[in-house]
């Protein structure tokens, strides 16, 4: 099962990383919509909430189709808002699908992330059911097909003494209570979605709930333009005495309809429940084997100064500060292993190197970099890459979930375009002492290759890296380290061309720096004194 899951993940990751590269080239990593799929869902839910409030004012449960037709006939606001509501909901399903697929491909669906995975699935389910009720509200041909199909599924369950489907055959007028219940669900479910959304992000310290402004207005603007230029029309009203021959089907919400109508209701339940069970069980079948599972961070209380930086930096709120009990005053950090994803960001935020997952603490990194220098012995003009395992300079981009991303001891480091790579599990895990060590060891330059900030598998690695390198965030890179010999570059898997360009540029910069230093070393006075001495001698 794990082998199959790994293959599936590998394939998914290959697809996603290609799409990422393409989108990065088009929109830059900052505005790549694939990096913001989760935030786009929140944005679209807000759009649905606002447009839905307007539609609610004009909707009548006593005349569902006629009232929606009246809204659609409002040539300006009503038609556009209804269309925006519809297209926004479609885009929301699309964004949720991408978000889930992305996290599955990155192996972020198990362990401490299980709650987010499960609540995300519940969100998707509620979104689909909410959409179902929305379509039934219109009570056109598509609504009739959806209602009849839903009733057919329910009728196979031994809980109703009479078939629900009889409600839709025209024996009696459909009671207003049905449309009231439907409307109630259509309003209540989205409200519930915001609660589930809160649970979904509850284990994240600083969730990015909205996309950057450009992407935000761009997305809303495009959907609005679509609504104006291609507004949603009205299908004929549902009629129990005419065969519902044709309908305009919304593939995002009713993609299953053509398939399930061919299946017996019992088979639909078996198929649907099986699919649901597989998705819900993903945290079990996507987790790595016990021996490959990364170990959570641990704290060496003797070294902890109680500065709280790891507590502030942890993207998953896995660290709390507790009162010391060892006779010393103050607090010390405690890691909750159930919340720790072993990203190692805390290791880089600790100046005394007292915290981090086994093998990833600052001290472990220093040991590794010492060995790296011994093995590689880089020259004074050589650039060393410090690369995130999941980025362009990673050896094994699918190492996530297994191992800690670092090379095994004694392993000959890999190269990129002739430069040696010192690999780390996340750029945010790189302790600044490692950079200092490399520079002081005589390396020409250090190019840290991080993932794009919104694509960090540990959420905030690149952000904290930059802060520590250039903005004096605690555990900062010391002033004595020449910043000219250091550069940070963001490149995702496969962005080799971009990385090669950045590397060439940095090499050129190091070459110029070396030339300038060589020039500065010339003792001008001595050079000038020589002729004088010669003159005096003569």
């Amino acid at each position: 099962m794990r082998g199959l899951a790994a293959k599936l993940r590998s394939l998914s990751w290959s697809l996603i990383s290609r799409a990422d590269r393409f989108m990065n080239r088009l929109y830059s990593s900052r505005f790549n919509p694939l990096y913001h799929s989760g935030a786009l869902v929140v944005l679209l839910l807000l759009v649905l909430l606002l447009t839905g409030l307007y539609l609610l004012i004009f909707y009548r449960i006593g005349e569902p189709h006629a009232s929606v037709a009246r809204i659609t006939d409002q040539a300006w606001l009503g038609r556009w808002i209804r269309s925006l509501h519809r297209y926004g909901s479609d885009a929301a399903v699309f964004a949720v699908a991408i978000h889930a697929f992305r996290l599955f491909a990155q192996g972020r669906s198990w362990g401490p992330r299980t709650l987010a995975w499960l609540s995300g699935l519940v969100l998707l389910f509620v979104l689909l059911v909410s959409g179902w009720t929305g379509y039934v509200m219109v009570w056109d041909v598509q609504a009739q097909l959806l209602a009849v199909e839903g009733a057919r599924w329910m009728d196979v369950l031994p809980i109703f003494s009479e078939p629900l489907g009889r409600a839709f055959v025209g024996e009696q007028a459909i009671p207003s209570a049905f449309f009231f219940l439907n409307l109630f669900l259509h309003v209540a479910l989205p409200v519930g979605m915001f609660v589930i959304l809160w649970i979904h992000v509850s284990r994240i310290a600083r969730p990015g709930l909205l996309p950057p402004r450009g992407l935000l207005w761009g997305s809303v603007g495009l959907l609005l333009a679509l609504s104006v230029l291609w507004p949603i029309g009205m299908d004929p009203a549902a009629d129990a005495f005419r065969i519902p021959e044709r309908a305009a089907l919304d593939v995002f919400y009713a993609f299953w309809l053509p398939l399930t109508r061919l299946m017996p209701a019992g088979a639909v339940w078996v198929f649907g429940l099986s699919l649901t069970a597989v998705a819900l069980a993903a945290p079990l079948w996507t987790r790595p084997a016990a021996e490959r599972k990364p170990k959570p961070s641990s704290v060496d209380a003797r070294l902890c100064t109680g500065c709280e930086q790891c507590y502030l930096d942890c993207p998953y709120e896995a660290i709390t500060m507790k009162q010391r009990k060892d006779g010393r005053e103050g607090v010390y950090a405690v890691v909750d292993p159930a919340l720790c994803v072993s990203c190692g960001i805390c290791a880089a935020s600790c100046a005394p190197m007292g915290i981090g997952p086994p093998g990833m603490t600052g001290r472990d990194q220093l040991e590794r970099v010492e060995e790296f220098i011994r093995l590689v012995d880089p020259g004074p003009r050589e650039v060393v890459l410090v690369g995130c395992a999941r980025g362009a300079a990673g050896f094994e981009t699918l190492g996530a979930g297994g191992g800690n991303g670092g090379e095994p001891s004694g392993h000959i480091p890999g190269t990129f375009d002739g430069s040696r790579i010192f690999q780390v599990p996340c750029a945010g895990n790189v302790h600044t002492s490692v950079i200092e060590y490399l520079v002081r060891a005589g390396v020409g330059g250090v190019l840290v290759v991080a993932c794009h900030p919104r694509d960090c598998w540990s959420r905030e690695g690149p952000r904290w890296l930059e802060e520590r390198m250039y903005h004096d965030r605690e555990a900062e890179l010391k002033e004595r380290v020449d910043r000219n010999r250091l550069r940070v570059f963001h490149a995702a898997v496969g962005e080799d061309r971009e990385l090669a360009g950045a590397l060439a540029d940095f090499r050129e910069s190091i070459r110029r720096l070396a030339a300038a230093e060589a020039e500065a070393e010339i003792d001008i006075e001595l050079e000038c004194e020589v002729p004088e001495l010669q003159e005096a001698g003569s």
């Binding site: 009479e162 333009a225 949603i232 009629d239 089907l249 593939v251 995002f252």
Partner: protein
Amino acid sequence: MSRLRVGLGVLVALLMTLAIGALSQVPYRAESADQAWIRLSWRVSAPRIEECRTLTAEELAELPIHMRREEVCEGTGIPYRLHIALNGEGVEETLIRGAGTRGDRPIYVFRELRVEPGAHRLEISLTPEIARDMATGDAEMETLELAEDLDLAAGDVALITRTAGGSLTVRRAEP
């Protein structure tokens, strides 16, 4: 960013937006309107038949105090036989029992027949199926029957249901 890249970015965004618009309203042919449907949908409150007997003093003594009822009744709803014939040919012959674990919930009929458009002779009967040894007492037994000539156009749905008076009737789309 080169102009080409910006143009390509705008183009891809437009195509994705258009794809959302297109997938939001895909023409779907759910059913063939070359046919016509006859739907049967109604319910009958099937009378309940019970056999009651008085418990002996010994039987009562064996029961806990709170369960000592002198008369116990066991019963069920009467099953009905549904017969449907279309153009003189039997289409269905089914024994229908009331829903529920005791079979005493109302009986319902919910069927759909798909037929070619044109004239059809429809005969339906729903009659109580009383076994010889069944003690029906004074229960009222309803028998429902319908024999009707239907002229159905393509795409029409005819509904066979009950009137307020309880007899079977045909309902069609209002002209």
